[in-house]
């Protein structure tokens, strides 16, 4: 699964997602208010089943006065890894 495919999927299940540039793994941005429902669907849809939160970290961007939360999801059923900065 590459970034484009992932974006396509996340766009369809949850609107407002954009592709995360400059990442070595498939990654999308999800607005903070859509996060919970997006995560829930990513986990619960059987053909996605991102059931494992591999790691969770944050990147601080003091210049933009914001920080980014990073969720690394993995599906033990399908074996695909998804990185979701938000």
């Amino acid at each position: 699964m590459d970034s484009e495919e992932l974006l396509d999927i996340v766009e369809r299940i949850e609107s407002g997602a954009t592709k995360r540039e400059k990442s070595d793994r498939p990654a999308v941005h999800v607005p903070v208010d859509r996060l919970l429902s997006a995560m829930r669907r990513l986990r619960n849809y059987q053909w996605l089943s991102f059931d494992m939160l591999v790691t969770h970290t944050a990147i601080d961007w003091p210049d933009d006065n914001r920080f980014e939360l990073v969720y690394l999801l993995y599906s033990t059923v399908h074996g695909h890894l998804l990185e979701r900065p938000q």
Partner: protein, 208 residues
């Protein structure tokens, strides 16, 4: 001569220790110390039994009272909040009643001592090895035998054991390992049943 003198000395030593330790039992502020003093008292009385050539009785005294009963008392003390039990100051009425009861007991004891004739004869207990005799007496069903009381006591003990188990048994159902209520509830919230809309959503996506 020396033998009987040392015998007397040892007797008074044991007796004095027993009295002192008994006082310690009633006066100790900590229950556990009282229990330890009680252990001392019982050991001293075991010593007195030995002096009377009743060594089997002495052994049983130590085995049952020190090894069993005092250990049980200590267990009970350790498992309860003994410190708080001693904090309450008894009411005056209780103090008076206690004093009356102990005085009455003293009077009764003195009365018994005065009325009973003590056989302080020169001939001591004739048996050195009285263990065999005890065994024979206990299991003899003849005229001088005690097999019936012995068996009745066994039955009584059995009843006491069963009663103890019934009293101490927990009646509420035991929880299964790992079913912590809070955790399961959180999970149920985290994984909601699919709504109809979501289900159609998924079907649609799968078709594409």
């Amino acid at each position: 001569m020396i033998a009987s003198a040392s015998y007397t000395v040892i007797f008074y030593l044991l007796a004095a220790l027993a009295v002192l330790l008994s006082l310690a039992v009633v006066n100790a502020w900590k229950l556990l110390r009282a229990a330890i003093a009680l252990m001392g008292v019982l050991s001293m009385s075991a010593g007195l039994y030995v002096m009377l050539d009743a060594s089997f009785l002495a052994g049983v005294q130590v085995l049952v009272y020190v090894g069993g009963i005092v250990v049980l008392i200590v267990f009970a003390v350790m498992l309860t909040r003994s410190a708080e039990l001693l904090q309450d100051n008894p009411a005056p009425l209780r103090k008076i009643l206690g004093a009356i009861a102990s005085l009455a007991f003293l009077a009764a004891t003195v009365g018994v001592f005065r009325s009973s004739p003590f056989l302080l004869s020169a001939e001591k207990a004739p048996l050195r090895d009285n263990t065999t005799l005890i065994g024979e007496k206990l299991l003899d069903y003849g005229a001088g035998g005690y097999v019936l009381p012995f068996e009745i006591i066994s039955l009584l003990l059995l009843i006491a054991i069963i009663g103890g188990i019934v009293v101490a048994r927990k009646t509420e159902p035991q929880g299964q390992p790992f079913t912590t209520g809070g955790d399961e509830a959180g999970e149920a919230e985290f994984r909601p049943p699919f709504t109809q809309e979501e289900h159609e959503d998924e079907l649609e996506l799968v078709e594409k």
